[in-house]
Amino acid sequence: MKCRNPLGGCALYALLSLAVGQGRADVVAVVSSTSAVTTLSKDQVTDIFLGKVSRFPNGTQAIPIDQADGSPTRDEFYATYTGKSPAQVKSHWAKIIFTGRGEPPKAAATNAAARQLIAANPQAIGYLERNAVDSSVKILVQP
């Protein structure tokens, strides 16, 4: 958010975000606006991102897009959806990688880069900070 009036708008925004999310980013799971998928539960999103399942419930292949390792958006997503810390997620993938059973999702460097990748691929699924969402992607509804 760009602040034209740093003394007014920004302070108000900071206060609001503190009040709404205790300072944490609000992260939402999204797919391309061209995707046929509209509804996905938290558990279904979790299973895709932890590599437990590789398809959407409608049978099409799901391609998860992560965000940069260590980014607040990523940490918030995994904490909210999987209940796992960054170390737990890393530990989970170590088990899979070093037994040749798969590789973690590819990671995009920023919210904007993630949005672009998700928007371009109807099979992609990702997560964005709510304020990074635009019409190229749609927020998944939780049933």
Binding site: K52, S85, A87, I97, F98, T99, G100
Partner: protein, 425 residues
């Protein structure tokens, strides 16, 4: 008897090559790391893992080892042993097409011959026509136990090492052959069925090679949210010539000697291992347990082992507690040859052979361990673990301890203190 085995493979002619591969993999990080962060697909990926750990044992007259593959451990060989838990692994994966990939994993760790020369842990080609179905050809670590294929990746596990009671039950951990993997999803439930078939042969710390043929495993894993259930059955025909001199001598002593040799020798015998395990990990805490039974139809006595472990996550700390137990189901002694049925001049040799047989059967591990420890995720991709183990040896048993010295008192207790740093990248 604990079966002491390790991977010295048919490919051991290329140990120098393995070392070069390991070093090359470790010094190829920047490009691969950058590629992994980029969403653009790269055909190759390289990763590595390792553990630096030391263990101290209160028992000076025997060695504690983490697996039956290790010749040296903590106690007799070293007061503080780096050989028990330390290792370095590097892996390269190539994705030729979305369906076809290959992996190579090289590990440097203490081998049966006391060297740390790198060996090939995994090397296979995977064909995966659909996300649910795959076939692998090459060297595969068997999925027999809940975490047998990831047991060497310290960072992936909550403890310093998997409980030795259960994870030392079978010496056979991998196979050169093929496996087939089929995944099925029913609602939230994901079922993965794996079947493997192959052979393996490897050198052992006590000398000689163990040869396992027609080695197959069928394993089924059910995942339902935070719950994982795993069952498996492993079967092989194995030969281990280490005890041949003893049984050859028995065969010199007529029909009763031959009968005993046939019962206890390790020549083309069948081995079965059956396992069941579960893990529940909702994030904030975990509880896991496993049970396994082995039957090797030889001087390696039928045994059962199990463990139960739980931990709680407090920010970056995960304190845990484990109870593990191994017991003998078969007899750990045998009356042996009936000396009165033999000519008097054979009484001396016959008593000697009976003593040899009973010493072998008496090596069966009987013990239980209470472990308490904590994992501390103090740095990105790195953890530090401290663990205290209190081992209670079964009456007359040296448990899983090896290199037992003359001053050793069986059936006592042993305290271990371990520190380990695990990393992945």
């Amino acid at each position: 008897m604990q079966c002491r085995i390790t991977p010295s493979r048919p490919w051991h002619a290329s140990h120098e090559l393995n070392a070069i591969i390991l070093i090359a993999m470790l010094w190829y990080p920047a490009a691969a790391g950058a590629a992994a962060e980029d969403a653009g697909a790269s055909m190759f990926s390289v990763s590595a893992f390792g553990t630096l750990g030391v263990v101290h044992s209160s028992e000076d007259n025997a060695d504690f080892t983490a697996s039956s593959e290790q010749p040296n451990g903590a106690g007799y060989s070293h007061s503080w042993s780096p050989d028990v838990d330390s290792r370095l692994g590097a892996q390269a994966t190539a994705h030729f097409t979305p369906q076809l990939s290959a992996m190579l994993q090289v590990i440097s760790e203490q081998l049966y011959d006391k060297t740390f020369r790198p060996h090939i842990e995994w090397a296979n080609i995977t064909y995966q026509p659909t996300p649910e179905f795959s076939v692998r050809l090459g060297r595969i670590v068997l999925p027999t136990f809940l975490i047998s294929d990831s047991r060497k990746v310290g960072y992936a596990n909550p403890w310093v090492r998997p409980p030795v009671e259960l994870y030392s039950l079978s010496p056979v951990f991998d196979s050169d052959g093929a496996d087939v993997d089929y995944q099925m999803q029913v609602g939230k439930l994901v079922n993965t069925l794996v079947g493997t078939y192959g052979n393996t042969r490897f050198g052992t710390p006590g000398g000689g090679e163990l040869d396992a043929k027609r080695l197959w495993v069928i394993a089924d894993t059910v995942e339902y949210g935070p719950l994982t259930l795993h069952i498996a059955y492993q079967q092989s025909s194995y030969t281990f010539h280490f005890l041949d001199p003893l049984f050859d001598a028995f065969r010199q002593l007529g029909p009763q000697g031959t009968a005993l040799a046939d019962k206890y020798d390790l020549d083309n015998k069948s081995a079965q291992l059956i396992t069941a395990g579960a893990m529940y990990d909702p994030g904030k805490w975990f509880v896991t347990g496993e049970w396994a039974k082995r039957n090797m139809h030889s001087a390696i006595v039928e045994s059962t082992a199990w463990y139960l472990s739980g931990g709680y996550r407090l920010a970056k700390f995960t304190p845990y507690m484990t109870y593990a137990k191994v017991k003998a189901d078969g007899n750990t002694s045998d009356p042996g040859l009936n000396v009165s049925e033999l000519p008097p001049f054979l009484a001396g040799p016959a008593n000697g052979l009976n003593a040899g047989l009973n010493a072998t059967l008496g090596m069966t591990a009987v013990q239980n361990t209470i472990s308490v420890g904590s994992r501390w995720d103090f740095m990105k991709n790195t953890d530090l673990k401290l663990q205290y183990d209190h081992i209670d040896l079964g009456s007359g048993s040296a448990g899983t301890l090896v290199n037992v010295q003359p001053g050793f008192q069986p059936g006592g207790t042993v305290n271990l203190f371990s520190i380990a740093i695990d990393f992945v990248w």
